[in-house]
Subunit: 136 residues, 2 copies
DNA sequence: GTTAAAATCTATAAAAACGATAGGGTAAAC
DNA sequence: GTTTACCCTATCGTTTTTATAGATTTTAAC
């Protein structure tokens, strides 16, 4: 299940991309337009900024804005920052690999075999979609 | 993230399939072989039985056994029973559809558009894999 | 047959982890 | 000095996972 954090983050990003301006947009405006709890959105935008997707400006006329062009923002990156691993089990994760403590051998593990394919499928989708693709 | 319930359920199913006998297998044997909490596994096997994947026999010499052939058990069915919806958001789910209350229009929703593709990718994998495919 | 053992079933609940939200205060820009 | 982003913390609710305790059914031994 997709977390609301990711859902809201994606919506905020697409909203900023659709605005099509470099001017900062206030949190309150995004929250209102996308029906998101403002406080919650606040923390989400913050992590997006810390991870290089957004820039921010304080004070009057401040807000958040996209740093890169929508075409340059891949969904793989967004998903990893907001949702975490793309894989459903750590033992098939590229960026968050971890060995299962209960599994003696990954090569013969059925869960591993299945989830590897699922991961590849998801990865292909995320690689083929940029922020620009989602708003067109 | 895949729940342990699903993970354990898959492991139990593949173990039963690999045994390749119609004889009932005790919960304790499966639990020990797959490093699973026996009591937890107990409830998982129960739901697998209630959903037509397993049969059971009580008393001495009892246990669980596969009802169908491994080739006839599709991962779509297993995943839906153990993990629930395959889609990451209800608004793109085939079997568990639900409208988002915050989203005014699904057709223009970026989350919807992206997660639709992810669902299709996962679905294809689950449809192409039976229990037999996972143990070969 | 009676009994005892072996196993599945049932229900509950506790503990842990996680998700989502709210509050209040600080710092920077204008 | 007003407006806005920033930061920290606490809380509430839900889900997941595991644990506890017993009930029920079947088989097998005697």
């Amino acid at each position: 299940m997709l977390s609301k954090k990711t859902k809201y983050g994606l919506k905020a990003l697409t909203y900023l991309a659709s605005i099509d301006t470099k001017e900062p947009v206030q949190i309150s405006e995004i929250a209102k337009h996308e029906n998101i709890s403002q406080k919650f959105l606040e923390s989400i935008l913050l992590t997006l900024r810390r991870n290089g997707f957004l820039g921010s400006k304080k004070g009057k006329g401040g807000g958040y804005y996209l740093i890169k062009k929508p075409e340059e923002i891949q969904m793989t990156a967004v998903m990893r920052v907001l949702e975490g691993p793309i894989a459903m089990v750590p033992c098939v994760s590229l960026n968050f690999y971890e060995k299962c403590d209960d599994c003696p051998d990954e090569n013969t593990c059925a869960v591993n075999r299945l989830m590897l394919q699922v991961r590849d499928g998801a990865l292909e989708v995320y690689r083929n979609n940029t922020l620009a693709d989602l708003i067109s």
